[in-house]
């Protein structure tokens, strides 16, 4: 079974703070990490390989530094990795990102399943998985919380929805996005870490994947950010004082007004 896992390098947002003086994001000391949801995608890919054989390839579109995330993916069990890097890709929105990924996946040709994370920490849209599936014209299931069964040319998965879960059979090749519940990612193995150090990570440009320049990057992005601002906390907190009894009493009275 050939498995492709899409991973994105994101700022480890734990550190992101707002500088109250300048009202900007403090970026110092922010390390880059593999998008947490993509770690679950990767782990599921590795488990599928352990179950069914085959290989796992991690793919990322990003700046040259994203290579570090791909090396980490290899240390976590991926057999190989490909970096999609081209100035023409910079500034891609979800449509353009999906387009670039779809060109790369099409070039890799021989695959059974593409696994994405549920969403990224920075982009935070969860749109790349479904858009990618549509561009590849293959079936798609979102929010997969369990792969029950892998058979000949199909997979049975559980999918989380608000009211519970659905059990869905999906023919392969297909794209799935996974949620955190699906597994607990392993730590890097010693063998993996050694491999990650020396692995060759090919870099594919727009030319390599045959992407049209007007469909990737800023030129290929239908959406555009026109304004960025910091949410104002308009609520002035009202602190309720007194003994626990008095506090509970007063709060109960306030809540009657709210609900």
């Amino acid at each position: 079974m050939n498995i492709i896992v899409c991973i994105k390098q994101v700022p480890g947002t734990t550190e992101i703070k707002i500088d109250p003086e300048t009202n900007t994001l403090v970026r110092e000391g922010v390390e880059s990490i593999i998008n947490p949801f993509d770690a679950f995608a990767l782990e599921e890919g590795v488990r599928l390989r352990e179950r069914c054989g085959g290989k796992v390839t991690a793919v990322s579109m990003g700046p040259p530094q994203a290579e570090a995330a791909l090396r980490e993916a290899i240390s976590l069990g991926a057999d190989g990795a490909i970096l999609l890097c081209d100035r023409a890709f910079a500034g891609s929105d979800t449509w353009a990102t999906s387009y670039v990924l779809s060109r790369a996946v099409a070039k890799m040709a021989d695959y059974d399943v593409v696994i994405c994370g549920r969403q990224t920490l920075d982009g935070d849209t969860g749109q790349v998985g479904p858009e990618l599936a549509e561009m590849l014209k293959i079936p798609f299931v979102a929010y997969v919380s369990k792969v029950d069964d892998v058979g000949d040319g199909h997979m049975r998965v559980q999918r989380m929805v608000e009211e519970g879960h659905e059990v869905i059979e999906i023919p392969l090749p297909a794209v799935i996005t996974v949620v955190k519940e699906i597994n607990v990612p392993r730590l890097p193995s010693l063998r993996g870490s050694m491999k990650a150090k020396t692995a060759q990570i090919p870099v594919w440009t727009g030319e390599d994947i045959g992407s049209e320049p007007d469909k990737s990057g800023i030129a290929g992005s239908p959406t555009r950010v026109v304004k960025v601002f910091f949410p104002k906390r308009t609520t002035k907190s009202e602190m309720i004082q007194g003994t626990p009894e008095q506090q509970a009493e007063q709060l109960a009275a306030k809540l009657e007004g709210v609900v």
């Binding site: 994001l25 449509w95 969860g126 749109q127 608000e162 059990v167 239908p222 626990p244 709060l251 709210v258």
Partner: protein, 395 residues
């Protein structure tokens, strides 16, 4: 679109550096330079006193002939979701600003109360009813909605940012080669350009971004449930109910829905709940969740959690609120023993009213709280529960 810096005009004064929300503009050798990661927001352009920074746009041709605002009215098991009505109410305002019609699209089988979409503000309802559409077969939904859009050419399409909306609406956008903004919390029409201004939180709610889709149509957005209020239905409103034929032969679902297992452990689902009572590590042990559970029951609220109780197995992941859990927007959010880390705030800070009960007066949760109680939750919460029980006659 690109950003250009005129090296002649730039004095290297550095006034652009601190205003960049992404920290990617920097003065090197007395000239400002833009590093990777610029998203052309234009904050530096405004800050520059020397006219040295410009964002150059290539005017794209706007897709012609698109009119009308559409709302995808989602249903599950034949019942319209609340978010469908919320979107119709909000869509009405947008349509009025544009001086155009509002239509709702409902796909399903024997869906109850579709005419209510008209009372809520729709001028037209496209109803696609077929037994094979009763369940969420997304291949079929994608195809039906795409065909309707291609035929009627709306300029705007809104859908709920639900599990379903966030899964199949992107596929529709991919086929139509148009932009889609995820999980919006604010919508407006730009008075000059008439473009849909779509505002959404990013970076875990730390930053808000307003996004437009300039040239492609429709302009598409998924919208977070509970952000917009459902208006008063007007039973006198008249509208047109258009039954759309579903040709089951032309499309088949590639995926097969084998089973749907309803989660019955939860009386109230956290995603659509109007009130949420959440517990954090401050509860100290799994048994103590009972204290917040009882408060939740009195209020008819859903039960939420911060991450540590989930990680420690005190409560299932489906209850986790925050950046890596669920994003919720209830009328009332009561946080007990939750410190209010940014990752938690990301999931709940848009709630209308936030109550924090915490024994550490410096806990960041108090910064977003409407009402704060510095105190021991083990004392305060049971009294609160008893008091509310009394006043609601449940004692």
């Amino acid at each position: 679109m690109t950003i250009r810096i005129d090296a002649e005009k730039c004095t290297g004064c550095g006034s652009c550096e601190p205003v960049c929300p992404f920290g990617v503009i920097e003065v090197v050798d007395d000239v400002a330079q833009v590093k990777d990661g610029c998203n052309l927001c234009g904050a530096c352009v405004e800050a520059c006193s020397f006219d040295a920074i410009a964002i150059e746009t290539v005017e794209q041709e706007v897709a012609e002939g698109h009119r009308g605002v559409w709302v995808f009215a989602e249903q599950r098991s034949g019942k319209l979701k609340t978010v469908s009505h919320e979107l119709v109410s909000e869509g009405r305002k947008l349509a009025d600003k544009l001086g155009t019609e509002l239509s709702a699209v409902c796909i399903g089988h024997n869906v109850a109360g579709v005419e209510q979409l008209i009372s809520s503000g729709a001028d037209k309802v496209f109803l696609v009813d077929d037994p094979s559409l009763a369940d969420h077969h997304e291949d079929l939904y994608t195809s039906v909605l795409t065909d309707l859009i291609l035929k009627h050419k709306p300029e705007i399409l809104l859908a709920g940012a639900t599990a379903m909306g966030r899964s199949f609406i992107p596929r529709v956008a991919a086929i139509l080669q148009t932009g889609l903004t995820a999980d919006c919390t604010g919508l407006d029409i730009d008075p000059e350009s008439k473009l849909l201004l779509q505002t959404r939180p990013t970076f875990g709610g730390n930053v808000m971004a307003t996004i437009v889709c300039q040239a492609r149509r429709p302009q598409m957005a998924t919208v977070r449930p509970h952000v917009f209020k459902m208006g008063q239905p007007d039973q006198q409103r008249r509208g047109e109910m258009i039954k759309v034929n579903f040709n089951g032969e032309s499309v088949t679902s590639r995926t097969k829905l084998l089973d749907f297992v309803e989660d019955l452990t939860e009386k109230v689902k956290i995603d659509e709940a109007e009130i949420i009572v959440s517990g954090g590590r401050g509860l100290g042990s799994p048994e103590n969740f009972q204290i917040v559970r009882e408060l939740a029951e009195v209020l008819g609220a859903a039960l939420g959690s911060s991450r540590p109780p989930v990680d420690d197995g005190w409560i299932p992941y489906s209850h986790q609120v925050g950046q890596t859990g669920k994003t919720v927007c209830p009328k009332l959010y009561i946080a007990c023993g939750v410190s209010g880390a940014v990752q938690h705030l990301a999931g709940m800070q848009t709630a209308d009213c936030i109550v924090a009960i915490n024994d550490d007066q410096n806990a960041p949760i108090f910064e977003v709280a409407t009402y704060g109680i510095v105190g021991d939750l083990f004392k305060v919460v049971p009294i609160l529960t008893a008091r509310l029980k009394n006043s609601r006659g449940q004692a």
